[in-house]
Every structure is written in structure tokens, then in C-alpha cells.
């Protein structure tokens, strides 16, 4: 029995040995590749080459020390990179959710909604009153339908009921990519669709779009006759308000009024006049710029800014603790060497500069990798597809990148303080007594 077991063990080993060696070599190849793509490898190589040729200097001494334990330096750099990448992503998300994208033409657009709530309709009879207000160039009803497309269970892009003739004077920055706007005006069951939505669902002119109502107890069946492109959000679907009126049997109400004003200078005056025009009526309005309107819409998501701010703070605190801990560890194991440097005549300020430069350098490199990685990721990824249309753009702005870089730089500086103080407090004699 024992011989049989030995035979089986030996047989299994013979059988799996090639696989084992393959795994070992794959692992080695992975490690080699990681070593090769590690920026610290190249920084060390360049520094060593420089030092061999020109001798040691303050800067090269810092680099040589920073990368002396490459595994730890790499892990520190990576943790800063991941954290700063996460921080930048969170700040970008916060910006996207609280500061919606804006076009130049948006500054000329104003939205009037029911003062009680955005969900309360407004009487259609307000239209002639608004039209007469000086500074108003065009006005159209603008009612959010909120239907689910095909079999979808969520509203992944907005549909609005508008007056086709009046609406043309409001959306000026887009252009017709396919079909003709006149066809949209003529056909009461037609719709005018954004190019992103056409592309996403593989639609073409003449196709039909069916929506199941979620706010309204009616469904839509629309024919695509035109495609628009070039606005900040090329996803929406626009259809005739008259069709909605017919389906709901209520021709007397609209969701909001969408206005275009003559110039940005008169926008505030128009807002005040529109609000005043319906004061003390059964349907008082709250008029605001398109941007302010979008912001109030976003506030329905809750205090996103606070939540993301809290998460970002936690990321920063974790990053700080981690970097301080790593730097303290790295310096503590070099206490004796630092004491030797002190004995050789290096001042405390110079040692602080060494530690600071090392900590700052690793944090800066980590930030470069993390922020650069976040920018590359969010720039080249199809976010609209990934978030099912919830987010269109995820623009990592220079300001956000600068914020991430400043946070990383501050972390590098702060994390150098504790080890530097420890080094400053320790006498040369005590430092020399510490074990390697």
C-alpha cells in the first residue's frame, strides 16, 4: 500500500511537473515585466548611470535612497497613485453631478417652472403673456415625459414634448445631422433624436421609438425623422407637445417653459419680469437660467457634494496615514545611517531636506501615475455606455488634476515631518547605537 501511494505521488508529480514549471516561469515573466514597466527601475538606472559618470550629488543621493528598497518604494508609489487616482475620479464625479456641462448658448436660455415644485404643471395659457415680455426671443413648452425605451426598466435618456416651430428658435447650437427639421414640424407623431442615442441603439431615420410612460399614464410611438448633433448632450428625444396633449386628454398644461432671451445681459431682467407676471396667480412660476435649473434638478439626487466630499476626505486621510507610516518605517531603519551623516557634518536641516525630497518625490511620482492614469482612463473610456447613459462626460479638468497634485504634494511634505523630527531629536551617539 505504501509503495502504491509512493508510486501515485511520483506519478502525479511527473504529470504536473511541466505545469508547475510553466507556472513558475509565467510568474517570473510577470515579475520581470512589472520590473520593466516600473518607472522607479528607470529612474534608478538613469541615476546610477549619472552617478557613475559624474559622482554623487545631493539629488542623486536622495533618489538612490528613495529606491533602495524598490519593492517598498513601488508599493508606496502605487498606493499614492491609486489613492490620488480615486480622489481625482471622485472630484470629477462630484463636478459632473453638481456642475452640469454648459454650452455658450445655454447662457441665453431660461426655464420657467412651477414655483411649488418642478413636478407641478403650469397652465398653457401663460404662453401669450411670456411671449410679450421684452427680451424674450422665443418660448416653447418643455415637458419631461420620462418614458422607458423598448423593454428598458429605467429612463436612460430624456424625452421632451415641445412646440416644434417655437423650439427651433431655442436650440441654436446643434445642427441637423440627418433628415430634415421640417419633416419633424410637419408630422405630429414624429420625433427629433440626438445622434448619441441613434448610435447607441443602432437606429436610423424612419425607425420607430416606443416609450412606456412612467410619469404619464400613456405610451408613445414615435417615428424618427431627424437627428441632431453638436449640443453638450446629444441624447434627448423631442416630440410634439400636441401629441402628448391628445394622449393625456389635457391640452391645458405644460411641464415647464423654455425661453431664449435676446442677450445674456437681459437674462436677469427677463427672469424678474416672468416671475412678476404670474405673481399672486394660481400658478406662480420660478424662472431661472438653464444652468440654475439643472442644478436644482441635480439637488434631487440628495447632497451628493457632501457625500463625495466625505469619501474624498477619507481617501486623503487614509493616504496620509499610509504615507506617514511608510516614510517613518523607511527612515527608522536608516537611523544609524542618518546618525553617520550627522557625524560627517550634515546639518539637521539638510537631513530634513533629504527626507522631505524622498517623501515628496515618491508622492509626486505616485500622483503623476495616479492622476495621469485617471485622466487617460476617463478620457478614453465610453462612459455613456458604461453608466447606461447616466453620465455622458467625465471630464478630468486641469483644476481637478491640480487639486489632486496639491493634495499629493502636501501629503509628501506632511509625511516627512514626523520622521524628520525623530531624526532631529536623536543625538548622533544614540543614532549610532541603533541596530541596522
Amino acid at each position: 500500500m505504501k509503495r502504491f501511494l509512493q508510486f501515485c505521488r511520483h506519478g502525479l508529480w511527473l504529470l504536473f511537473r511541466p505545469l508547475w514549471w510553466l507556472l513558475v516561469w509565467v510568474w517570473r515573466a510577470v515579475l520581470f515585466l512589472l520590473w520593466l514597466v516600473n518607472p522607479l527601475t528607470w529612474i534608478e538606472w538613469v541615476t546610477r548611470t549619472w552617478v557613475r559618470k559624474f559622482g554623487i550629488g545631493h539629488f542623486s543621493f536622495v533618489i538612490v535612497n528613495a529606491v533602495r528598497n524598490q519593492r517598498r518604494a513601488t508599493l508606496t508609489m502605487l498606493s499614492v497613485a491609486i489613492s490620488s487616482g480615486l480622489l481625482v475620479s471622485l472630484l470629477t464625479m462630484q463636478r459632473e453631478l453638481t456642475v452640469p456641462p454648459e454650452s455658450e448658448a445655454a447662457s441665453l436660455r431660461v426655464i420657467a417652472r412651477n414655483k411649488v415644485s418642478i413636478t407641478q404643471p403650469l397652465p398653457a395659457k401663460q404662453l401669450p403673456v411670456i411671449e410679450k415680455i421684452p427680451g424674450v426671443v422665443a418660448v416653447s413648452p418643455f415637458t419631461f415625459f420620462g418614458g422607458n425605451f423598448r423593454e428598458e426598466t429605467v429612463t436612460s435618456f430624456a424625452q421632451f414634448a415641445v412646440d416644434p416651430v417655437r423650439f427651433k428658435g431655442i436650440i441654436v447650437e446643434g445642427r441637423i445631422a440627418e433628415g430634415a427639421y421640417e419633416d419633424f414640424v410637419k408630422d405630429r407623431t414624429s420625433c427629433f433624436v440626438g445622434a448619441d442615442t441613434m448610435k447607441r441603439y443602432g437606429l436610423k431615420i424612419g425607425d420607430r421609438m416606443r416609450f412606456t410612460g412612467t410619469f404619464y399614464p400613456v405610451d408613445l410611438d414615435l417615428k424618427i425623422v431627424a437627428v441632431f448633433q453638436g449640443t453638450v448632450d446629444d441624447r434627448g428625444v423631442f416630440f410634439h407637445h400636441k401629441l402628448l396633449d391628445e394622449l393625456t386628454g389635457d391640452p391645458g398644461t405644460v411641464g415647464t417653459w423654455y425661453l431664449r432671451v435676446a442677450s445674456a445681459e437681459v437674462a436677469n431682467d427677463v427672469i424678474a419680469r416672468v416671475n412678476r407676471a404670474f405673481e399672486n396667480t394660481s400658478a406662480e412660476v420660478r424662472t431661472e437660467t438653464e444652468r440654475a435649473f439643472q442644478m436644482s434638478f441635480m439637488s434631487m439626487l440628495g447632497n451628493v457634494k457632501l457625500i463625495i466630499g466625505l469619501i474624498s476626505s477619507m481617501v486623503v486621510i487614509t493616504l496620509l496615514l499610509m504615507t506617514v507610516s511608510t516614510m517613518s518605517m523607511a527612515i527608522r531603519e536608516r537611523f544609524r545611517e542618518l546618525a553617520v551623516l550627522k557625524a560627517l557634518g550634515f546639518r539637521r536641516t539638510e537631513l530634513f531636506a533629504f527626507i522631505l525630497a524622498e517623501s515628496f518625490g515618491l508622492a509626486a511620482l505616485g500622483a503623476l501615475v495616479g492622476i495621469g492614469g485617471a485622466w487617460t482612463f476617463w478620457t478614453f473610456i465610453d462612459l455613456q455606455k458604461m453608466t447606461n447613459g447616466f453620465l455622458i462626460y467625465f471630464e478630468v479638468t486641469p483644476r481637478i488634476m491640480a487639486t489632486g497634485a496639491i493634495v499629493a504634494a502636501l501629503l509628501g511634505i506632511v509625511s516627512a515631518i514626523a520622521p524628520s523630527l525623530a531624526v532631529a531629536r536623536t543625538s548622533v551617539v544614540d543614532g549610532l547605537k541603533t541596530l541596522d
Binding site: 538612490v64 550627522k342 560627517l344 557634518g345 550634515f346 546639518r347
Partner: protein, 234 residues
């Protein structure tokens, strides 16, 4: 008429050092006075805890006395602040430690060059001076090796080169042969001895080993923090 005695490079007067360990005061040095002339190779001997390393540290400016004075080249080093002391050490003292204390990530030549970073020398001058120091200790051909690629004796020679590179008047060595075999120890001691004879350096060395002490020009014995009468000049 006899020549006037040389001005001592080290003048120690009534030097005391008391350490506080918890509630107990431990006297490491008790009213020690001594003079060391330029070019002397002074060996400090004594049992463990006799205060020889403490005396060496005070003379080298890395420790402060509790009372008394220690003047090196006429400068009372106890009166210097931390920054002044650091500059003074860089210009006037070379250190040789028992465990070499070379920076492991630097080559021997880079280790030797390190103290020169604090000087105003150009890159070229620094390299030249480093090479000279390495040649003096017979290590010019091993300058590009890291400490872990050198033997103990070679590492200590590199440490001596580092101590010499700024051309200090005083070299302090704390048991420099403690971690070496007999052959390497002999080589190191010969280098230190030749520095006093040919370059006029003053060497103060702490050792337990009577054989190492025989290389010195004068032995001083310390016991319980006080200088004991010893053999004196050889």
C-alpha cells in the same frame, strides 16, 4: 636650548559627563584633563564602561560634556550650537567606526565623496580628492564596489578614506579593528599610524586590544571615568 613644546591640538580640562538613567546619575567621565599634541597617535584604553568612548565622542563633537571644556584647535566645542558643530565636524574631524558605517546603497567611492558634498568643491575636484583618499588607503581599484562586495578590511579602509577626504586635522577611531581579522586589523592600524607619521594627522583611537594599542604613540587608560596613570609616551 630645547625647542618649545608644540601647541596641543586637543586640550581637555576638568571634563565631566553624567548620564541620567531613570532616577540614577551615572558618571561616565569625572574631571578628566589631558592634552594631545598634533601628529600624536593616542590610544584610549580601559574596561567597558570606563568612559573612553564618551571621551572620544566629546572630543569629536558628537556629544556634549556636563561640565569642563574640550578645546580642539583652540575652539571650545562645547560652546558651539548644533549647526556650528556640524560644520566644525565636517571640516576638522574624520570618523572611523567599529562597524564601518558605510552607506550600503553607495559604492566605496561614493561613500568617500559624501562628506565633500558639504564643501564648495566642484564635481571634478570632489572626484579627484576622492581618488586621492582611496589611493592613500590602497583602495583605488575597488572604488566602484558597494560595501557588500568588499571584505571587512576593505570596508574599513574605505571608511578611513571617507574620514580623510576632507583633510581634517583630527581622526577619531572607535575600536576600528573590533570587527576585523588580525591581518586586516594590522593593515588598518598601519594606515592610521602612517597618517600620523607622514601626513601629520592626529589620531585618537579607542581599543580594548593591547596589540592594537601598540601602534599608538601614547596610551591613556581610563577607569571609572578617570584617567589612570599609564605607560605614557613611547
Amino acid at each position: 636650548m630645547a625647542a618649545p613644546p608644540p601647541v596641543p591640538i586637543v586640550v581637555v580640562r576638568d571634563l565631566s559627563k553624567i548620564y541620567r538613567q531613570g532616577d540614577i546619575n551615572v558618571t561616565a567621565l569625572n574631571s578628566v584633563s589631558l592634552d594631545i599634541a598634533p601628529g600624536e597617535f593616542v590610544v584610549l584604553m580601559g574596561p567597558s564602561g570606563s568612559g573612553k568612548s564618551t571621551l572620544l565622542h566629546i572630543i569629536a563633537g558628537i556629544d556634549q560634556p556636563t561640565s569642563g571644556s574640550a578645546k580642539v584647535q583652540g575652539i571650545d566645542i562645547a560652546r558651539l550650537n548644533q549647526s556650528q558643530l556640524a560644520d566644525w565636524r565636517n571640516q576638522n574631524v574624520g570618523f572611523v567606526f567599529q562597524s564601518f558605517n558605510l552607506i550600503p546603497v553607495l559604492t566605496a567611492a561614493e561613500n568617500v565623496e559624501l562628506p565633500l558634498l558639504l564643501t564648495n568643491l566642484s564635481r571634478k575636484e570632489r572626484r579627484q580628492q576622492t581618488l586621492t583618499a582611496l589611493e592613500l588607503v590602497g583602495l583605488a581599484d575597488r572604488g566602484h564596489h558597494r560595501p557588500d562586495q568588499l571584505s571587512g578590511g576593505q570596508q574599513q579602509r574605505a571608511a578611513i578614506a571617507r574620514a580623510l577626504v576632507t583633510d581634517p586635522a583630527l581622526i577619531v577611531a572607535d575600536e576600528p579593528t573590533g570587527n576585523l581579522d588580525a591581518k586586516s586589523a594590522g593593515d588598518v592600524l598601519e594606515i592610521l599610524q602612517s597618517l600620523t607619521r607622514t601626513a601629520g594627522k592626529t589620531v585618537v583611537m579607542v581599543t580594548h586590544d593591547p596589540k592594537s594599542a601598540s601602534y599608538g604613540s601614547r596610551e591613556l587608560h581610563l577607569e571609572k571615568g578617570e584617567l589612570a596613570p599609564g605607560p605614557g609616551p613611547k
